[in-house]
Symmetry: C2
Subunit: 714 residues, 2 copies
């Protein structure tokens, strides 16, 4: 019913004018508009964040709103009056065809103001909806991708105005969307005329704008960058409403890909694959060596990782049909943006750069900036004009993956000092707060990943991951990946029938050694105490040293003295790196520790602290950051401004090369020992009954000093 046709009593608030007062929630923005103004128009004029791709033509359904009538006190309106025009035919059609209108909602472009109203813009109708909550409090990631869709109706050519089709398309984008001064990728020229005619002069355009940013986010880059012009990167006939981005974490071992909707920010599908470069070398340095030994080997590895990524893209595009209800398979051609994180060697190989310079001092990166290019230039098979953004590496050993961790964890926004640790063959370490950030890499070696450990293996079914040792009997119990049970639980044997007990993974070896230490099998200097053999048959003589028999099955799993040494070397390197950064900041204690990556997810932080991998900290403040590097890639995908943020972060973080810091060796040697009650691990002491310093410790110190001299001589 159209109110304007009804005579209204003079005391009606509308009687004085043909203006409706509208209040939008949650923004609180308000204003007066003539009757008949579509809600979408009112929202735009007030700067209310209400989405629309079709420009108010009732096609896209993104401008859905809720109208609270009669709850509006200003003019004392009652709910009996219709303050919006009646449900329109366009809305009925949209509802019928798409079936996607939630109960009680209206299309903002169709519902027109007929009286004072409160309009609620649901989260999913906001352009800049929150898509990722960052770890740091109060920092959300709002949807603001570099690629967006715009639906337009284009003027037809006219002999009296012989302008080109592209000019008229641009004119429509300028008139309907305020997009001026757009470039157009030249490979679109060829099909543009066919597309416009096929769509009967209606088209959807994807525009890439590297400078896209939300109005409410501040510029964090200290070097204000000039940007390339925004450009048209894809055109579809008629209305097109699905475009995707993919966030990719290229690890040495695995590659993970997350397919996200660029229109609503949802993660639609995630998948992982082994990095096929493994056939050229298990770890980073063996891959660099491969290139040194095999000219052209870098190209082989570049091709291998790119092929694997291309296969992953097909996988996630296919998977979305099963992971998201009502969603068909995604088209590769609709992938328009990709973001990448990787360690320096993976980063270089991904971009087609020979990594040999990273294999030796001075460990020079080819470049330490972000890379923004067409994905096709990286050999990535997405839309021909899909964009790729590769986060910047920090230094020769501190990669774009750590940059991603920083972006996800936001240590630079906190007063508390955060320690971020990402453990791999190298531990990449970041320390600091809003005032100052420092970063380094520490050569932990592969022990934390289960390599160079006698029974070590990757974290896979059959690997021992949890261990407890009875301090009285020295008898162990353990659990393996693939079974929920402890080894002394009933039914354990059956539960591992198919997988077996095959080895011990990185987090397992840490628990094993920590429990051995807590049980007194190992002293603070890491020596397996042969005297314990009297107490348990699990202490085995092994030449001049001793081992601990953890499991005696098809595979015999022992913890040897050498295994303990490997872990000591690894943890000493990690701790020395952390101490170096703490020295640099002049601090004695950190307030918050975040362990990133698979290692961080699996490790029991208590044991990490028992072994002294990480410095003393209130245990509740030591947590896993999950897949923080991958989250960083997702943030960069979803929010253009975050790219400036990570570039600024990486630029400003102080990079420390442990190889040229004399204090590193000193910290390293001192960190070989395990903490005891008189050490600085006071927070740890509150939860764990650490051993007292034993008499052997003096001998241990002596050994440490010898070790230091050996290292310096070597």
């Amino acid at each position: 019913m159209n109110q304007r046709d009804n005579p209204k009593p003079t005391d009606s608030p509308q009687s004085g004018s043909d203006q409706a007062h509208v209040v939008f929630t949650p923004s609180g923005k308000r204003g007066d508009f003539p009757f008949g103004t579509p809600v979408l128009d009112a929202a735009r004029k007030l700067g209310v964040d209400l989405d629309s791709v079709c420009g108010g033509r009732g096609i896209c359904g993104r401008c859905q709103i809720l109208c609270s009538e009669g709850e509006f006190s200003k003019h004392g309106i009652t709910s009996t009056q219709a303050h919006l025009t009646a449900y329109a035919e366009v809305e009925e059609r949209y509802e019928r065809i798409k079936g996607a209108m939630k109960t009680g909602r209206r299309l903002g472009c169709q519902a027109k103001l007929q009286g004072d109203v409160v309009i609620d813009v649901p989260e999913d109708s906001q352009v800049h909806r929150q898509v990722i909550r960052k770890a740091a409090d109060h920092v959300d990631v709002k949807l603001d991708p570099t690629v967006r869709l715009y639906y337009v109706e284009v003027e037809q050519p006219d002999m009296h105005d012989p302008s080109g089709d592209l000019r008229r398309l641009k004119k429509a984008l300028a008139t309907e969307w305020g997009l001026d001064n757009l470039d157009c990728e030249s490979n679109l020229f060829g099909n543009l005329q066919k597309i416009l005619r096929e769509g009967e002069w209606k088209a959807t355009v994807a525009v890439y704008d590297p400078a896209a940013r939300t109005a409410d986010q501040t510029e964090t880059s200290d070097n204000l960058t000039a940007y390339d012009k925004p450009r048209i990167i894809s055109v579809w006939p008629g209305f097109h409403d699905r475009i995707y981005g993919v966030a990719i974490d290229v690890g040495s071992t695995t590659i993970a890909a997350h397919l996200c909707s660029l229109t609503d920010g949802e993660v639609l599908a995630s998948s992982g694959a082994m990095n096929p470069q493994i056939r050229f070398g298990e770890d980073l340095m063996s891959r660099v060596s491969y290139v040194m030994m095999n000219p052209g080997g870098d190209t082989e590895m570049t091709n291998a990782v790119r092929e694997a990524i291309n296969e992953l893209l097909v996988v996630v595009c296919t998977e979305v049909a099963s992971t998201v209800e009502g969603h068909e398979q995604a088209s590769i051609n609709d992938i328009l943006d990709l973001t990448f994180v990787a360690n320096p060697v993976m980063h270089h190989l991904l971009l087609g750069i020979d990594p040999v310079e990273l294999g030796g001092a001075p460990f020079a990166l080819a470049f330490d900036e972000s890379a923004s290019l067409r994905a096709a230039e990286m050999g990535i098979a997405a839309n021909l004009n899909a964009r790729a953004y590769v986060l910047p590496c920090i230094a020769g050993h501190v990669g774009a993956d750590t940059a991603g961790v920083m972006l996800a964890e936001q240590p630079h926004l906190l007063d508390d000092i955060s320690l971020l640790v990402d453990v791999g063959t190298n531990a990449e370490i970041v320390l600091g707060n809003r005032e100052r950030m420092v970063a380094c890499s520490s050569p932990t070696g592969p022990a934390f990943e289960g390599a160079q450990i006698s029974g070590g293996q990757r974290a896979a079914p059959g690997a021992i991951e949890r261990i407890r040792i009875d301090p009285e009997t020295l008898e162990p119990k353990f659990s393996v990946i693939g079974s929920e049970l402890w080894s002394n639980d009933e039914g354990f044997e059956e539960s591992v029938n198919n997988i077996g007990v095959t080895g011990i993974c990185g987090s397992g070896i840490i628990e094993a050694i920590a429990e051995m230490f807590l049980a007194g099998i190992i002293d603070t200097d890491g020596v397996i105490d042969g005297a314990m053999a009297a107490k348990s048959e699990r202490i085995l003589a092994d030449g001049r040293t001793f081992s601990y028999l953890l499991h005696d099955g098809d595979v015999r799993i022992i913890i040897s003295q050498n295994d303990v040494r490997q872990i000591q070397l690894a943890k000493a390197a990690l701790y020395a790196g952390v101490k170096l950064l703490m020295d640099r900041l002049g601090i004695e204690k950190v307030q918050r520790i975040r362990l990133a990556g698979a290692f961080g997810s699996h490790i029991d932080v208590k044991y990490a602290m028992v072994l002294g991998l990480i410095p003393d900290c209130v245990l509740e403040q030591v947590t896993s950051a999950g897949n923080a590097a991958g989250n960083g890639a997702r943030i960069a995908l979803m929010n253009a401004n975050s790219r400036r943020e990570v570039e600024s972060l990486v630029h400003n973080v102080e990079k420390i090369e442990t190889a040229v810091e004399p204090k590193f060796q000193e910290h390293f040697v001192l960190a070989m020992a395990f903490p005891h009650k008189s050490d600085e691990f006071t927070e740890l002491g509150k939860v764990v009954n650490l051993p007292e310093r034993k008499s052997t410790s003096d001998a241990g110190r002596e050994r440490s000093r010898k070790s230091r001299r050996r290292k310096r001589a070597g």
Copy 2:
């Protein structure tokens, strides 16, 4: 001799200070600098246009200057004093190795001020030297390409400052050349580290800056455009001083390429090739038809023209070794910029755009803007990151070639009204002056190119190109392409022995018909007068019409009544187009006519006016514009600002589609007749004895009216 070591009398001008006064010619810029300041530094500080690629290291030799000592009156200096430091070792080495120092010159980077001097900067030492003189008076094209070389010395990597190699390269470019905020093509990442190390941390960088412009040229674009960031597009180890650009004119029949040095603006080699698209159709419309009949035919033609261009690039790179003394073959990899002009169909096919829309109303261009892209995106085999700039088309029938003509001829800078005509299958016509410009295309058909004429052929050896007819005897004499002699000269037969007399070319048919008209063989309505048969046996009866026998050799060449009609139709179309534009500007007369292209170069303008191809004009003001389209491409190659200029010109010219202008038909019909004394061709009347209007002309008008009715009905 170092003056500073000599005690100077107190009346010496230098005694009061250690400052030298320097005056640069021809700029007249002057200033005072401390003794010991290199001339190059002084020039830079004063903004004197003195070239340098190596940044003052005595490598490039571009900063050569002449020093006029003792001619400097201000302080009464005599020539006995040395006002510059002595010839330096670096200069001797440069002279010895390169042998390229002209007599009396010094290297501005090595010669240091020791007293007051006048320094002359020769034209070839100026960065912005004049490279092309445009047709319009006082408008020169200064060298200011979009791609330039910069030699730098890069800091080596240092573990205490783990910045990437690219960052340190950029830092050198910023410090030494003031180039900030550069992007880098991502395909350079892979080799950057090797190049820097190979050059021992010295490198030459090519930077593409689309916004490059000389300080003394004003911004002519009315829409100030935002530009993409300048970017590094190539890096060579050590010093590299040769880079090239190629200006290419893609004609329907031939493709012409001019290899130019981007460092000094010289044209080094030019070559041409047949457009291989001819196998798909002789003229434009038959090529468009080919695409309509053969799906994918556009791709075939795109590939064909691109391959031909790639072959031409090899040809000009090879030829430079023979055309320029002391120059070796140019490397394809050193071609860093290319510019293109082409008619609309060639333009679209070159860019990979299906041209079918240009084959029918409303003749919509895919786009009417300039295209700036990587040449590789066009399938052009130059440097991987070479740039390509394609001048904008004006309308569906008025191409980028005409845009090139406008850029070269500069009609928009004159008060006089210029008429620019480029004749092909269509005549592309531009008319106007600084106040207003209009353009159209007129369907002349191929008669002017010798097609659809009984004895017609292309302008090639053996083709008759000059004709004179004795008005008394009606006997002709003619000359053919490939011989200097007239047909009645002694030795003519021998001179054409090898080439024969094979046909008549476009300019020949025009002369033949004009001479027939002036001899009274044809009346003003174009009818060959049968009564003339009584006077000469060369007038042959041909059914109900008559012909004129021009040559009776191995090939019998006649001018038939139909030939006259074809030329009448063509010239009427051309003239009608011109009249339409004159109507639009409200003018009766043009001050200046420039005929572009091969037709314009070969035609005798007097005969063109006798036939009424072009409007009345002072004959001296009717000239050939030579290869104006190609010149336009060269200008766009040499001067970045000229690209903005041509974009602005094309944007502002008023485009008129003759097909929808009713007046066009009217002008067309009226223009069928040949001019006679009572016509408006007053200037022509001063030099040619035009016939009086004959009684047959009334019948002619009647035929014209009938023709008009037929056309309108058809």
